[in-house]
């Protein structure tokens, strides 16, 4: 009875279309008890909100639409509740508390930075399972926490040996922002360089959140003369560095690999400065697989011409929601122990294919992309790359 009532309300709301978007929120609350609620953190307001936010939301909603079309999770309609992940940690914490206590969400999904992740872990305290989606430094093994993200191993283990084989660089220079993700990535990369017999000519970090310029660093790199530069700069620093690098003409002789190079950043770097620049992540919008073609068709169909630009940070929420569906369906509950045993070895859909959860991280396909203008051209696919994480 209540179920059919809820369904009818849902149908009415859907029929009313976008004009009534404000109203369903109320109706959803009325049907709160039955829906399967995912509390999702993404960039709603803040510096990253315009970069990633719309994609994060669109991809998650696409996944939810597909799941609900098939009858939801365990017969329950899936509902997304949103909170800002591009916020001060205390703001994220209070949103998590609200979702825990008032909304009583069944699962948490987060696409945000590592500091906010630590805040959510500290707040949720494993009471509800939590899946974290964007690229990060690895090492998250808190109980009842699952990670879809690309890890340093998945990135470095693929791109560095491949480029060494193809381009034969003999030496390398490392530059990154001064915080944990670049440091951990570089530590991992240096292990690989040692095995490859590549010498590290320099390693430097620039302050996070400071107005950085890169003329001096680029000149230093020019003097060191490496065959490859490994870039673990983020955001505007990544843009500035690469524009300066090419401006000084270093792009003609030195290869670059950037660890966090998605579509927005490449647009900022621009076609003039992207020659000889590579990236290695689990998603590029130019990946050509049957699954991705289907994904993109569905995405275009749902959002039309004004669809937010596709990129790794954003699309990974799609896989995140699909993981929730797969694991809860298999476990038949969201209790911690059941989810944990169901999760290990489970395979679920991503935008480009499938991923497999092991040790609460995923084995996934990685793509090596070379920048051609402001587009990524996939030059190699690495299948089922292991995360290198060993969470119990």
């Amino acid at each position: 009875m209540t179920t059919s009532l809820a369904r009818r309300k849902f149908l009415i709301a859907s029929a009313a279309g976008t004009a009534l978007i404000g109203a369903p929120a109320f109706i959803r609350n009325a049907s709160a008890a039955k829906d399967f609620k995912i509390g999702m953190f993404y960039a709603i307001a803040g510096p990253a909100a315009n970069l990633f936010g719309p994609t994060q939301k669109a991809c998650a909603e696409l996944a939810v639409e597909q799941i609900n079309a098939r009858g939801g999770i365990l017969g329950r309609r899936v509902q997304l509740l949103f909170a800002n992940g591009d916020a001060a940690v205390a703001d994220a914490t209070k949103s998590a508390v609200r979702m825990l206590l008032e909304d009583k969400v069944d699962f948490f999904l987060g696409s945000h930075n590592s500091a906010v992740r630590e805040a959510l872990v500290a707040t949720i305290k494993a009471r509800v399972p939590y899946v974290y989606t964007p690229i990060y430094e690895g090492g998250e093994c808190s109980p009842n926490t699952y990670v879809i993200a690309d890890t340093p191993r998945q990135q470095m283990e693929t791109v560095l040996p491949w480029l060494h084989k193809k381009a034969g660089y003999k030496s390398v220079y490392l530059i990154g922002n001064d915080y944990v993700w670049p440091q951990v990535t570089n530590k991992y990369a240096k292990g690989i360089f040692k095995k490859l017999g590549v010498s590290v000519l320099g390693e430097e970090y620039v302050p996070l959140g400071a107005p950085n310029k890169f003329e001096e660093a680029v000149t230093r790199i020019k003097g060191a003369g490496p065959g490859l530069v490994l870039i673990t700069l983020v955001g505007g620093d990544n843009v500035n560095f690469n524009r300066t690098f090419a401006g000084f003409g270093l792009d003609k002789n030195i290869l670059r690999v950037s660890s966090l190079l998605e579509e927005n950043t490449l647009l900022g770097i621009g076609a003039e400065s992207s020659n000889g620049l590579y990236g290695c992540m689990s998603y590029y919008s130019s990946v050509d697989t049957p699954a991705h073609r289907a994904f993109k068709t569905a995405y275009r169909k749902k959002y039309g011409d004004k669809a937010p630009i596709l990129g790794l940070i954003g699309v990974d929420t799609y896989a995140g929601v699909k993981f929730v569906e797969a694991v809860v369906t298999k476990a038949k509950a969201n209790a911690a122990a059941k989810v944990k045993s169901a999760a290990n070895g489970i395979t679920f859909a991503s935008a480009t294919g499938t991923m497999t959860m092991r040790n609460r991280h995923v084995d996934k396909d990685m793509y090596l992309a070379e920048c051609k203008g402001t587009e990524f051209q996939i030059v190699e696919t690495f299948s089922n790359v292991k995360s290198g994480q060993t969470c119990a």
Binding site: A45, Y179, L208, G209
Partner: protein, 567 residues
């Protein structure tokens, strides 16, 4: 009130208790910002530094000893450490430069930016970018809403503390500094110390917020040290109202919670906040707190006038003063203002300093009090060479000054103005905190009240006084400090002849009762004739002539500089 606060979580539920608890903590830090900005008149723009420091300390202590009940005893130390750092920083900065304008704000901002880099890079200690994690809750208070009670009690205590400080003599002195710091220094107060105390207390308040933030959140990240929280605190204080005790609390709780709730739902929220902020700065400097004013008036229990207390004796020396200026030269830019000036005040009495405009009369005073640096020559006070004089040090040695344009503290009441003078050179740190100090009275003060009945109307603001009354008030304040040497710059300018006569009598009375040496810059020759026991005539930065009035009048050189060459 407190009961209402404690009952709130039962009505609103655990989530709101958690949320309110956090913003109560922010409100405590905001109270500190308001103490500095609304009371003492300087704006700290990097206050998060102290919140963050205490949070890291408290977090570390909890991680180390979180199981033990006595960890509660450690938390105050985190707050005190933050306060100590603030006090030291304040003392260093304020000693280096006496004013507290926007540059102080930018210094604190730059320090906070540096601290952010340290917190972000020093992985081993702070946990770096991802923060100091797995901080346990306080023993027995692990629930989401449990810290709420602690925060509510802490906030109530902080509000009470601030309310009390604002009422205490310290609050009066802070407000006086905000209005005219130089004048406060001329009353013999160490203004740098007073401001550093305000900054230190604001650090303690920020520290209390930080110390409780760590167990409430379970995580401390570098952004807690950074600019964003510092900026939010300032916006909350501005919008809430920086001059009222409850203003910052209103700002933090209302604006803070509205922002937290609406930012992610309202696309234009940041635009709205920016516009409201600009509006408040431009048109409503009192903030929301100003709306409370009518309510406050309704509250009963206005304090009755209390019996005055006899103030202790001044700590400044009491013996007669000797002053000798010997060959002093000084310049401003290219223009020579004092040119080998020599004059001496050897025994108590009334000395007049006259001369045409630009002769260097006020400059002589400025040179004595250290505002104009002497390039050559020396000044001896009681036989000791005065090197690097400051208004504060001179006041401590019994030298007072009254300015030409009356510089009483306009936004303070007559009573408060007089008290600042009474406390001069009589108070210790402890007295600044004791309300009883407000009742101090001295025979000189009583005598002046007798002469000038308007001084008894203590509640009036000094800005509401007439020009003549302000002149008298400032002269009274100078006399109440019971100086040995008093420098008066045109004490009768703009007074009616009746008022002039009264001032003349008061100066004579003060000389007789206090054994005072008075040096008066005066243009009114009638007054000079009536008052002066000795006259110095200055011309082009030099002593042209000196002697009694009759000798000066008959001096042809004096005649020439005043009226032009004789035919």
């Amino acid at each position: 009130m407190l009961l209402l606060l404690l009952a709130l979580p039962l009505a609103l539920g655990e989530y709101w208790a958690f949320q309110l608890g956090l913003f109560f903590l922010y409100a405590i830090a905001a109270l500190g910002v308001a103490l500095c900005w609304g009371q003492a008149g300087f704006l700290p723009l990097g206050q998060a530094l102290f919140v963050g420091l205490a949070a890291y300390l408290s977090g570390a202590a909890l991680i180390q000893w979180g199981e033990a009940w006595w960890v509660f005893l450690l938390l105050p130390f985190a707050a005190i450490a933050a306060g100590a750092l603030a006090f030291l920083l304040g003392l260093i900065i304020f000693r280096g430069r006496s004013e507290s304008g926007p540059y102080f704000a930018i210094i604190t901002l730059a320090i906070a930016l540096l601290a952010f880099q340290v917190a972000n890079s020093w992985n081993a200690v702070t946990g770096g970018y991802n923060g100091m994690k797995a901080i346990p809750g306080l023993p027995g208070l692990e629930g989401f809403s449990d810290v709420y009670y602690l925060a509510a009690v802490a906030l109530a205590c902080a509000v009470a503390l601030c309310g009390w400080l604002v009422q205490a003599p310290l609050g009066t002195l802070w407000r006086a500094i905000a209005l005219n710091e130089r004048r406060v220094a001329y009353f013999g107060y160490d203004t740098a110390m007073l401001k550093a105390i305000a900054f230190g207390l604001s650090g303690v308040l920020a520290g209390i917020a930080g110390a409780l933030y760590a167990p409430q959140q379970g995580l401390v990240t570098p952004e807690l040290v950074g600019f964003a929280l510092s900026a939010d605190l300032v916006i909350w204080v501005a919008v809430g109202g920086r001059k009222r005790v409850l203003g910052p609390v209103l700002g933090a709780v209302l604006v803070g919670i509205l922002s937290a709730e609406l930012r992610e739902r309202t696309y234009y929220w940041d635009l709205i906040v920016a516009a409201v902020f600009v509006f408040v700065v431009l048109y409503a400097p009192g903030g929301i707190g100003a709306l409370l004013a009518p309510l406050e008036r309704l509250l009963p229990g206005r304090r009755k006038a209390l019996e005055p207390l006899r103030a202790p004796a001044s700590k400044a020396p009491r013996s007669a003063v000797t002053l000798a200026i010997d060959g002093v030269s000084a310049a401003a830019g290219e223009v020579r203002i004092l040119d080998r000036l020599s004059l001496a005040v050897a025994r108590p009495g009334i000395y007049c300093l006259i001369g045409p405009n630009g002769a260097g009369k006020t400059s002589t005073f400025n040179m004595l009090t250290g505002e104009l640096r002497a390039q050559a020559g020396e000044v001896r006070l009681d036989g000791d060479i005065l090197s690097k004089p400051t208004p504060y040090r001179l006041a401590r040695r019994g030298v007072g000054r009254k300015f030409q344009i009356p510089s009483v503290f306009g936004e303070l009441s007559i009573d408060e103005n007089l008290r600042i003078a009474v406390w001069s050179a009589r108070t210790s740190l402890l007295d600044w905190l004791r309300p009883a100090t407000r009742r101090w009275d001295t025979p000189v003060m009583a005598a002046l009240r007798g002469r000038y009945p308007f001084l008894d109307d203590g509640g009036r603001l000094a800005s509401a006084l007439s020009h003549g009354e302000r002149q008298v008030l400032e002269l009274s304040m100078a006399l109440i400090t019971e100086p040995r040497l008093l420098l008066l710059d045109e004490p009768c300018a703009g007074l009616s002849s009746e008022e002039t006569a009264q001032v003349r009598e008061v100066i004579r009375w003060a000389r007789d009762t206090l054994g005072l040496s008075v040096v008066i810059i005066e243009h009114d020759m009638a007054l000079v004739k009536q008052l002066a026991e000795h006259v110095f005539v200055l011309h082009q930065g030099r002593l042209l002539a000196e002697g009694d009035v009759a000798a000066i009048r008959s001096d042809p050189r004096v005649h020439e500089v005043y009226v032009g060459a004789a035919e």
